[in-house]
């Protein structure tokens, strides 16, 4: 027993010792709790992409990537604990997959000099790099999502939303409340009436919300949900026979497991996406060869090719590209979080890079700059086919209406800068 303990202590020491030489990517995942349904595939995809890089290319630029997984259960206190326990291991970037945890980490990580990439979630006004030096939310944010969704409904309605009724059904938290200012501005501009209905955590019970929708008969429903509330909402919509093509979720409400429980009733349900869906990309052959068949897949290995798995892969791809660019720009393989941040601020993702990584046409092309940490704000609409059980994109990646969003971002980030006494950068 004593020997065993000593060996274990030694192994732990050895595991901790050379860690500084690796490129450390903490993964604040949640495989438990009411949002685990969404957290598991994302965490699997994120882990598998780095395993693939290590197995196939020997890491990034020859340096192995080290993933430190820490369970947050979508709980902000555990998220803080995870952040503190991993930041001293040489963490290069944090992607917490939770708007609440992102809000906690924005001041902490900025003070510690570690970049945060909240891809399609988090604080929307972090797009303004002049105020938020260490926070990035490329390629897209919630307000882009709201705008692209409304544009889609406008097209569907024949070019005008005048006099239409649109309901926003949202999670009653930071994440769900984010789109409201944009939708209010859009409602004034497009002439539709907006109604918001909140769903409290965790959202397993939505009878009253859908009763209200049934009574008010909105023309379109936008949905900001996550985890178990997605499945319930799609099921309830199908129960009241709401026309599914008029019901659209944000990208966090558009995975296979959100629509499968409702069966045929979910046919035609739409969701926004900022990356492509399906497993028809060369990278999945490599993942099969180097990761799955080698028995190195994260989790149960049954999520490969699902929407949220792809998003995990995309998040890891963007982080790896930034790390690669940082290595090239600094002429060193051992990059630091500061180099990573500079490289993220100068990141360009084009078709050539996506194709080289085995992800041709996977997402929109975009550029990050000092002023703009949010990329191009391009999103596409996907639709669910219940018979084939597949999502497919029914539109191109379209840009949001920046005329509406820019002033809102400036106002919100200015309020944050004033409250915290932050001077503008990039001048």
């Amino acid at each position: 027993m004593k020997i065993k303990l000593t060996t274990m202590a030694l192994t732990a020491l050895m595991a901790a010792g050379p860690a500084m030489a690796d490129l450390v990517f903490p993964s604040l995942s949640y495989r438990t709790g009411p949002f685990a349904a969404g957290g598991i595939p994302f965490a699997d995809g994120y882990a598998d992409y780095f395993t693939l890089l290590n197995e196939r290319d020997g890491g990034i630029g020859g340096v192995p990537a080290k993933l430190i997984e820490c369970e947050t259960a979508y709980n902000t206190e555990k998220g803080v604990e995870c952040y503190e326990s991993t930041k001293d291991e040489g963490a290069l970037i944090y992607q917490p997959l939770s708007t609440g945890i992102t809000y906690q980490l924005i001041p902490k990580a900025t003070a510690d000099g570690i970049p945060i990439h909240s891809m399609g979630y988090g604080r929307t006004s972090a797009k303004n790099g002049k105020v938020f030096s260490h926070v990035f939310n490329y390629p897209v944010n919630y307000w882009d999502g709201a705008s692209v969704g409304i544009n889609h409904f406008k097209k569907q309605a024949g070019g005008s939303l005048e006099g239409k009724k649109i309901t926003l059904l949202h999670f009653n938290g930071a994440y769900g409340k984010e789109p409201i200012p944009t939708l209010e501005a859009l409602s004034a501009q497009e002439g539709f009436s907006l109604n918001t209905i909140a769903i409290d955590y965790p959202g397993q019970e939505q009878k009253s919300q859908w009763l209200q929708i049934r009574r008010e008969r909105p023309d379109y429903v936008l949905f900001w949900g996550w985890g178990v509330m997605n499945q319930v909402a799609v099921q309830e919509a199908s129960n009241i026979r709401f026309p599914m093509e008029n019901f659209m979720g944000i990208w966090w409400s558009g995975a296979e497991l959100d629509v499968l429980p409702a069966g045929d009733g979910a046919n035609g349900y739409k969701a926004l996406q900022f990356h492509n869906v399906g497993s028809d990309f060369p990278i999945f052959d490599d993942i099969k060869q180097y990761v799955t068949d080698a028995g190195k897949a994260a989790g149960a290995g049954d999520q490969i090719g699902t929407v949220l798995y792809n998003r995990g892969v995309y998040a890891a791809f963007l982080a790896a590209e930034a790390a690669k660019a940082a290595q090239a720009a600094n002429g060193t393989k051992e990059i630091t979080a500061a180099m990573m941040r500079d490289s993220m601020e100068a990141l360009t993702i084009d078709e050539a890079k996506m194709a080289a990584a085995g992800l041709p046409g996977f997402g929109p092309e975009f550029q990050v700059s000092c002023e703009n940490h949010g990329g191009g704000g391009m999103a596409a609409v996907a639709q669910w086919d219940a018979t084939a059980k597949t999502w497919s994109l029914i539109s191109d990646f379209e840009a949001s209406d920046s005329g509406i969003i820019e002033p809102l971002i400036m106002a919100d980030s200015k309020a944050f800068a004033d409250e915290n006494g932050i001077a503008e950068r990039c001048n």
Partner: protein, 358 residues
């Protein structure tokens, strides 16, 4: 040998009335204070502060608050999360409205505001008792969280409904916001905990505490011997609310830095603090500390052993943790219904008799 009165002569009433009349106990108390104020600040780092010490200190204040109401006065409350939210939002509004006033006074004022709110929600306790009162305070929990989500004035009309603590300093050292040092936040919370514990200890062993305990043990008898139930119950709600408000303010401003009513101050927070005082010991200030330490340290310790030492997958460890914490709560309730404080009392009795137990 240890912990006994023999040879410890009291020559005045003040000596006889002190909090720790036994010399060994008194020295232990001084040692704990010295370590907490004089040694830990020099050894602390960010991880220890944010993973163990800050949550322990802040939850201890909340547990002391709830223990006064539930443990001493016998009024069951499930509204702790909501009252902590009152403290947090009061602190936020004060911090942003009066940026020049020292954060120390904001935290105390937040406690005062919570005391008023808590007293208002304590009014039903004059008519209803036990489970029915628990349901009434449960209503307070849901109402308060709903209120802070619904009325955007409370979060200064920010887009997401989150509140963020701006940087505030004490003697030029930042204690809230991004650029805080671990020792500064630790000491700031420790000062509040030490003062709260001393106030609570002296309140509960004085006349006020006796009134509360009389109400707890039998309210009709208490009324007959001259305790005014209205004043006793409402003062318990007010004092309890004051401490819970301070803990909510510290929880938001110093520990989290950003918060949201439903996420940070939900019903699970009420249950967590209630479990703390049940496991720690109802009607004991030491029990509040012990319960908070137990429920803060155990999950982190299990995680360290499971993930970092044994290298198990994070989700398995998270599930095992739920099982172990749940099982321990049940075992505690069966084996020692009076909590860790009772174990401590028994240990002290044993020490007094050792080495000649009879």
């Amino acid at each position: 040998m240890f912990y006994r009165e023999a040879g410890d002569f009291k020559t005045s009433y003040t000596d006889d009335n002190q909090t720790f009349p036994i010399k060994f106990d008194r020295y232990r108390y001084y040692v704990v204070l010295t370590v907490a104020f004089g040694i830990i600040p020099f050894l602390i780092n960010d991880y220890w502060a944010n993973a163990f010490l800050l949550p322990f200190l802040i939850y201890s204040i909340a547990a002391i608050g709830l223990n006064i109401l539930t443990g001493y006065c016998g009024q069951v409350s499930l509204g702790t999360g909501g009252f902590m939210a009152v403290g947090a939002y009061a602190c936020y509004k004060l911090m942003t409205a009066f940026p020049d006033v020292n954060i120390f006074f904001h935290v105390i004022a937040a406690g005062g505001i919570t005391a008023i709110v808590c007293t208002a929600f304590g009014l039903p306790s004059l008519r209803i008792k036990g489970f029915y009162l628990a349901v009434a305070t449960l209503a307070a929990q849901f109402f308060l969280v709903w209120l802070f989500n619904k009325v955007s004035w409370f979060y200064n009309y920010s887009a997401s409904g989150q509140i963020n603590a701006p940087e505030r300093t004490v003697f030029g050292v930042p204690v809230t916001g991004a650029n805080t040092e671990a020792w500064a936040t630790y000491l700031f919370c420790l000062v509040f905990l030490a003062i709260s514990a001393i106030i609570a200890r002296n309140l509960t062993r004085g006349m006020q505490g006796r009134k509360w305990m009389a109400i707890r043990d039998m309210d009709i008898a208490a009324e007959i011997i001259g305790v005014n139930p209205l004043r006793a119950k409402l003062s318990a709600f007010a004092v309890s609310g004051f401490f819970i408000g301070i803990s909510g303010a510290l929880f938001f401003a110093v520990y989290l830095g950003a918060a949201e009513a439903g996420d940070s101050f939900g019903i699970q927070k009420s249950f967590l603090v209630l479990f703390m005082i049940i496991i720690g010991g109802l009607g004991s200030i030491f029990g509040s500390f012990a319960g908070a330490a137990f429920l803060v340290l155990l999950p982190v310790a299990l995680k360290l052993v499971g993930v970092d030492f044994l290298g198990w997958p994070t989700d398995i460890v998270a599930h095992i943790q739920l099982i172990i914490v749940g099982a321990l709560i049940i075992i505690f309730l069966i084996a020692e219904p009076h909590g860790i404080a009772q174990l401590w009392r028994v240990a002290k009795e044993k020490l007094r008799l050792w080495p000649f137990p009879h």
